[in-house]
């Protein structure tokens, strides 16, 4: 069993198992050549998470560089707007670089240093994980190569420039659909080729074991802080009734869900990108619409054709525009512990407006999916309940898209 950093409570939920499975999902479906690299990584990870100095470094960087802890903001006007449960936002949008992604990038770059790796690679879609990785590489003086679909490098030129400014080399990927899925393939190919000196920082709770559990352990600080902050705000032993997060690969969601998994009274809701509607082919609602399969090293759910080819996802938000999902979410879906719903492009854009006009918080389009779901959820809540929503990122990166639609 993977050891976690929880000292506070005994978790009865104890996934993944030794083989990296969350129930039926997970594993490491990778070329033989990566097996030693994953074993080396897992052993470094296991050692690190038992090492106080590792966590001290991690927390010092998050506090002094990233700006944690992030606030838990009481959204008085949104609350008033619905007139039901109290709404809080966990403000990952205030992290350095503008999204939760950097929590994981910091954790992984620290591991890479411990392992003596000098060259960092990563994939990116919208560029948020690429920017986070380029950032930590600049801060640590490490070589940084970012794979990005050629189409995304054009759509997200701003983030390409940000990465370049920080010294990262952005490699446009021209294969396949020229988006995140292909950038990931290409990053894996680089890793396969340069496995000796290269550390691959995966940007979500996906990939072969131990990546999903690493992403979780480096993001669970979101949920751990939330739990403590809510008690500070609302009183001892108070738990939220609902915790909401958008789900692309699933890293921000698992980060806020995980510390509540054993708290049975807390309803956890993951919001996927419905795209043009999950009844269409233009969707990224992996759990709602997909079937089990293997992509990028783990067995999880997947959008795929009848013959098992991976489908292109569609979402207005680049960060959710991915046909796979982390295996732990597949497990939490199958066991029913987390409820997954889908919100369409159009509804997400309404979510942007809602939060911007009532709270002065312009969310990332990814986050906006979760916000929009409040329109469905809130009427079912009562005044003495509490809803916490993970505000995973800020919307600056999306203003171009948002302006086009609004």
């Amino acid at each position: 069993m993977i050891e976690t950093t929880t000292q506070e409570e005994t978790q009865t939920y104890s996934f993944p198992d030794k083989k990296g499975y969350f129930g039926k999902f997970g594993g490491k479906f990778v070329p033989e050549i990566l097996i030693p690299a994953l074993e080396e990584l897992e052993s470094a990870f296991q050692t690190a998470i038992k090492d106080d100095t590792f966590w001290a470094d991690y927390h010092r960087l998050l506090n002094e560089y990233v700006g944690r802890e992030t606030p838990l903001t009481f959204c008085d006007r949104l609350t008033e707007h619905f007139g039901k449960a109290k709404i809080y936002f966990k403000r990952e949008d205030l992290c350095h670089t503008g999204a939760h992604k950097i929590n994981n990038a910091i954790g992984q770059v620290l591991l890479a240093r411990r392992m003596g790796k000098k060259r960092i690679i990563a994939e990116t879609g919208a560029g948020q994980h690429g920017v986070a990785t380029a950032t930590v590489c600049a801060k640590f003086g490490m070589e940084c190569i970012i794979y990005m679909g050629a189409e995304d490098t054009e759509r997200q030129k701003l983030n390409v420039d940000r990465m370049g400014l920080m010294g990262a080399k952005v490699i446009p990927v021209h294969s396949g659909s020229k988006t995140l899925k292909d950038a990931t393939n290409e990053a894996i190919r680089d890793w396969v080729t340069n496995v000796e000196d290269t550390f691959y920082i995966i940007g979500s709770a996906v990939g072969p074991h131990p990546y999903p559990v690493m992403a979780r352990e480096f993001h669970r600080i979101i949920g751990d802080e939330t739990k403590r902050q809510l008690q500070e705000a609302e009183g001892e032993n108070i738990l939220p009734d609902y915790v909401l997060a958008c789900v692309g690969g699933g890293s921000n969601a698992i980060g806020i869900f995980y510390p509540f998994v054993d708290d049975a009274s807390v309803k956890l809701i993951g919001i996927e990108a419905g795209g043009l509607g999950f009844e269409t082919e233009e969707t990224a609602a992996t759990l709602t619409k997909g079937t089990p399969g293997v992509l990028h090293g783990s067995l999880s759910y997947l959008l795929q054709t009848d013959s098992g080819q991976v489908q292109l996802a569609h979402s207005v938000s680049a960060g959710l525009d991915y046909p796979g999902i982390g295996p732990e979410h597949a497990h939490l879906f199958d066991t029913g512990r987390v409820k997954y719903v889908a919100v369409n492009d159009k509804e997400a854009l309404e979510g942007v407006k809602l939060s911007s006009s009532l709270e002065g918080i312009i969310p990332a389009l990814e986050t906006a999916h979760a916000i929009s779901y409040l329109n469905i959820l809130m009427p079912q809540t009562t005044e003495n309940e509490i809803v916490v929503l993970n505000c995973s990122g800020r919307g600056d990166k999306d203003m171009g898209t948002i302006s086009k639609y609004i």
Binding site: F29, P31, E32, I33, R189, V192, V294, V310
Partner: protein, 272 residues
Amino acid sequence: MSRISNVFKNKAEDEKVMTLFLTAGYPEQEATVDLILGFEKNGADIIELGMPFSDPLADGPTIQYSSNVAIENGTTLSSIFEMVKEVRKSSQIPLVLMGYINPILKYGMEAFFSDAAEAGVDGFILPDVPVEEADQVDAMCKKYDLDLIYLVAPNTTEERMKLIDEKSRGFIYCVSVTGVTGARDGDEVAKSVEKFIDRVNSNIHKNPVLVGFGIKNYEDATRISEKMDGFVVGSALITNIRENYPNAGWKENVVSFVKTLKYGNKADVPAS
């Protein structure tokens, strides 16, 4: 004894087993059977038939390209089984299906291996299914009397080589340099692999070993497979097809390229 094992049993002491990788359905579905039969006539001992996948993360650009074309051509696992059946009408050349696990899962494990056996497939190479994840696949292969071929890489530990030797049936595919499939420079390859090949030979005893990745011509093949049982050519063959297709006589040109891979320009090329 399987068709694959027969190849190794029957080959001359210093003869190298030539295995050719061809993406099924590339450059057109109709061509695959002809190509296989032509390859056999010109020296191929084993055929690895690639099952195209949308996200071939262990493959370089050449094979990615051929996979995309094959998918666009409508190639599916079912259509591949039809190709295999067609080959079996006139040939007993060992056929190894190589590909990623996802389409197989989607097809259904039991159905896939059962249909494969029925069609006349001999074995499988599944690059994203390492030993750790292979229990079910292994059970299926055993059930339907099919070979399961693993890969070893330069960074595979000796302990693990022994494990893989134990688990593998048919042969072992030795990836000569770290990296994805693709046409690397043979010289570079040769230098970097010597030690690795020695390690492979001291740890792998049960199975024959074929060496692959980066072989472009007869000279590469000869040098690299010197201490091995044979070699695999993939990307170089796809590249050759890509260069010739769809010009008139493309198949003949490809087939004669295959002949040079096995025999070089030696005088003793048998009449085809």
